[in-house]
């Protein structure tokens, strides 16, 4: 298991994600950071639960309209705490698989054969995030 807070590489991944202009990511990150220490422990990520931002209790707002609610189509937007945590886990999982197939780690780049191995590893996993579990 890889700790989310151990190692400069992981800290760089989290710092990069926080620096990117990803919608709601920072807010989601802060909500997941229960002890407000500026980093996510594995427990904080693992116990994060998907719930819409802005609705702490998860209940829909009663507007008095009795019509059946229209189901919204899922989007790729970051709308939950878990998505931010998942984003970290996916990037760490990719990094893990990347390092695993990089036969010349000093250059930290994949040639054609290494990239082929990487893609095969990715496709043989149900979830990339499972690589860090």
């Amino acid at each position: 298991m890889i700790s989310l807070t151990a190692g400069a590489a992981n800290e760089k991944i989290i710092a990069d994600l926080k620096a990117k202009p990803v919608s709601l990511f920072t807010r989601s990150f802060e909500a997941t950071d229960k002890d407000n220490d500026g980093s996510l422990s594995w427990t904080e990520v693992w116990t994060a639960r998907a719930r819409p931002l802005g609705k702490p209790d998860g209940k829909p707002v009663d507007t008095g309209n009795k019509k059946a609610p229209v189901k919204k189509r899922p989007t790729n937007k970051i709308t939950s705490f878990l998505t931010a945590a998942e984003l970290i886990k996916v990037k760490m999982g990719l990094r893990y698989l990347f390092d695993e197939v990089d036969l010349n780690p000093l250059d930290s780049e994949l040639n054609t054969n290494e990239f082929t191995n990487f893609m095969q590893n990715v496709m043989h996993r149900d979830k990339v995030s499972s690589a860090v579990i």
């Binding site: 990719l94 250059d107 780049e109 994949l110 054609t112 290494e114 990239f115 082929t116 990487f118 893609m119």
Partner: protein, 31 residues
């Protein structure tokens, strides 16, 4: 696979950095 490699190799230097890997991943239906 060669096509995927070329798609991921943004700066066309014939090798894939981790950032290129990550950007490629974000561009897939999984990202």
């Amino acid at each position: 696979m060669a096509n995927i490699f070329r798609m991921a190799d943004i700066n066309e230097d014939k090798v894939i950095s981790f950032e290129e890997t990550w950007n490629f991943w974000l561009g897939t239906k999984f990202g």
